[in-house]
Symmetry: C2
Subunit: 356 residues, 2 copies
C-alpha cells in the first residue's frame, strides 16, 4: 500500500475509488449490517427499523457490527434510502414481510403540491449525527460510506406506495403527466443532493447513489425522464471532491448512460460480467460488484467458485471493489460472508495471479 | 405479399418467422386475451382461470376474442405456462391479486421423487382440443401459436411456490443440490417438449417458449444450469419444422446464449433496443418485441411515439414481429391496444420509410 503520498488516501477502498494501486482488492457488502446478523436481530427485538435509524447511537452501533464481524474495508451508514421522504410528508412504515409502505403515495399533481420542502441539516440531522459518531470509531484503514437513493428509485416508491415488479404507476405518471413527473424528479434531486452533501460534511468519505430499480426502464426513457436528475446529483457530489458510486440492478443496457450521468465507480449486478461492463464504460472507471447474493447461501465450494469467477472477470484491474450485485439476503449464514471476505483477501493479496 | 410460392407460408406472421418478405410488419401481443378485455372479464365472472383453460370450448372462445377486437396477425392459445405441472402433481391455484400459488412446492430430492411422469396427450388433451377447435375458426392469414414455459421459468414457480423477485429458493437448490436441480430440469425439459410437439400436432403453426424470468441469472449460471435443457426443447421443436420464438425479459447479457439454445425468433423486452439486440444475435435471426406494456396506458401521442421508436429501431429488417416486451397489463384500455395495432399496420405497409 503506497501510503504517505500527499493527496492520496491510504484506505484501500478509497484508493480503489480513485483507481490507485492497492495491496489487495477492497471488499464490502451492500446490507452488510442487517437481519442475517444475530447482533442486529437482537437489537431489532427492542427497536423498529425506523427507531434504529432515528437514534444515532443505535444506527452507529449497527453500522459498526459488520466491521467487527467481517473485517470489511468500508462501513456504510445504517439507514434507508426512503428516510428523506419522511420530512417531505410521506407516511412511511416498514411492514414485516412486505417492506416499505407509504400510506399517502404521490400519484397526481395535487399529491405533488402537498410535498413539503426539506431542510436536511435540521430534519435529517439524526443521519448526520450517526456519521459523526461512527467516523472516529472506525479502525484504521476502514472508510465511511454515506448514501442516498437516486430520484427514479426513491420516486418509484413514493408513487407506487411500496415495492413493485412492474412500475405500472411510476411509468403511468411519467408517460401521462410528464410535467408532474419532471417536477417530482427535480424536487427529489434537490433534496437528495442536499442530503448527500450534508453526509459528506458530517464525515462520509465516499457516497453511493442507489438507483436500484432503474433497470426497469429502456435507454430512451432513461435519457428523457431520469438522467438529467441523476446528473444533477452527481455534479453536486463531484464538487465536494468525494468519490461517488453509481449503483443499479439489471442495468446492462443503461450502463454507458448511467456513467454519463456520473459516478467515479459504477455498481453492477451479476447479470453483467465485470469484463463486459468495463467494455461498456471504459477502463477509466471503477467497477463495484458483482457476486449474486444467493451465492452466499451456497456451500463453500460453490461460493468459492463464484467469488473466483468475479475476481477473474475483474482481472485485477485498478478500480475493482468487491461487493455483491445487490444486498445480503436475511437468510444468509454469517460464516459464508466471512468466507467470501477471506477469499477475496487471500486471492488478491499483492496482486497475485488468479487461477481459473 | 408473395403468396403461392411452394413451401412458403402465406400468413405474414409465419413469413416473418422465416424472415421472408412481408407486406407489413406482423403484430400480436402477449396476453392479448385477458383481463383488460370486457368480454374476458365477463366470462371470468362465471369461470375461474383454470376452468377456462380446462374447457376447450371456453379456451377457444377466449383465444379468438382479440382476433375479433384487434385484428392481430396471430392467435395465441389461451392457457398458462404452469398447466403441465398439474399432471406432475403440483397443487396449482391462481389466487386473486397474487398470481399462481403451488401449495406443495419442490424444494428437495424427496419432493422431486414425488413428481409424477406425464402423458401429455392424455393428461393435457384439453389444451390440444382447444387448438383443434381454434385452428379452423381463424380468419384467413391469421396464424395459430402454441406455447410452453421453459424449464427454468416453470421450475422457478415449482420451487418458489409462487411469484418471486429474488429467486432465492430456486438459486439455492441450483447451487446447493445441483443433482436435484439437473434432475428437475431434465424432467421438465422432457414434459415441456412433449407438450410442445403435441400442440404442433394439434394445429399450432408456431410455438413460443417463455423463459420469462431467466434474466435473473448471469451468463455463466445460464450456461451451466439452464441452457442444455432449453436446447433440448428447441431441438425437438426444430425437428417438427415449425418455427419457435424464444422469449425472456431482462435478457440483454444472455441473448447470444439463449439464441444458441434455439429459436428462429428471439423475443426481447424494452430494456434492449431492437437494433442492439440484432447486433448481439446476428441478422439471420428474427426479433419479436418490444414495446413496454406500460406504454399502452399512456395517452395517444406518447404511445404513438413509443410505437414509432420500436419500429425505427427494427428498421424494417426482415424478421421483425411487433409485440410487447411482456404481457398486456390488466389496466390497459382496449382502444389503446387498437391504436397500437393500427399504427403498426399503417406505418409499415409496403415497407414505407419511417419518420422519426
Amino acid at each position: 500500500m503506497s501510503e504517505g503520498i500527499p493527496g492520496e488516501p491510504s484506505e484501500r477502498f478509497l484508493r480503489a475509488c480513485q483507481r490507485l494501486p492497492v495491496d489487495r482488492t477492497p471488499v464490502w457488502f451492500m446490507r452488510q449490517a442487517g437481519r442475517y446478523m444475530a447482533e442486529y436481530r437482537e437489537l431489532r427485538q427492542k427497536h423498529s427499523l425506523l427507531e434504529i435509524c432515528k437514534q444515532p447511537e443505535l444506527a452507529a452501533q449497527v453500522t459498526l457490527q459488520p466491521i467487527e464481524r467481517l473485517g470489511v474495508d468500508a462501513a456504510i451508514l445504517f439507514a434507508d434510502i426512503l428516510l428523506p421522504l419522511i420530512p417531505m410528508g410521506a407516511q412511511l412504515e416498514f411492514v414485516e414481510g412486505r417492506g416499505p409502505v407509504i400510506a399517502n403515495p404521490v400519484r397526481s399533481k395535487a399529491d405533488l403540491t402537498r410535498l413539503r420542502p426539506v431542510n436536511v441539516e435540521a430534519q435529517l440531522d439524526y443521519v448526520m449525527e450517526a456519521l459523526r459518531i461512527v467516523r472516529p470509531m472506525l479502525p484504521d484503514g476502514v472508510a465511511l460510506i454515506g448514501f442516498a437513493g437516486a430520484p427514479f428509485t426513491v420516486g418509484s416508491y413514493l408513487i407506487e406506495g411500496g415495492p413493485t415488479r412492474k412500475f405500472e404507476r411510476t411509468k403511468s405518471l411519467m408517460y401521462s403527466d410528464p410535467q408532474s413527473w419532471h417536477a417530482l424528479m427535480e424536487r427529489l434531486a434537490g433534496t437528495l443532493s442536499d442530503y448527500l452533501v450534508a453526509q459528506i460534511e458530517a464525515g462520509a468519505q465516499a457516497v453511493q447513489i442507489f438507483d436500484s430499480w432503474v433497470g426497469a426502464l429502456g435507454p430512451a426513457d432513461y435519457v428523457e425522464y431520469v438522467q438529467p436528475y441523476s446528473k444533477f446529483i452527481f455534479e453536486r457530489v463531484r464538487q465536494t471532491g468525494v468519490p461517488a458510486i453509481h449503483f443499479g440492478t439489471g442495468t446492462s443496457t443503461l450502463l454507458p448512460l448511467m456513467h454519463e450521468a456520473g459516478g467515479e465507480v459504477m455498481g453492477v449486478d451479476w447479470r453483467i460480467p465485470l469484463d463486459r461492463a468495463w467494455e461498456l464504460v471504459g477502463a477509466d472507471v471503477g467497477l463495484q460488484g458483482n457476486l449474486d447474493p444467493t451465492a452466499l447461501l451456497a456451500p463453500r465450494p460453490v461460493l468459492q467458485r463464484q467469488v473466483k469467477r468475479v475476481l477473474r472477470e475483474a482481472g485485477g484491474r485498478l478500480g475493482h471493489i468487491f461487493n455483491l450485485g445487490h444486498g445480503i439476503l436475511p437468510s444468509t449464514p454469517v460464516e459464508h460472508v466471512q468466507w467470501a471476505v477471506e477469499l477475496v483477501q487471500n486471492s488478491t493479496e499483492h496482486g497475485q495471479e488468479l487461477g481459473t
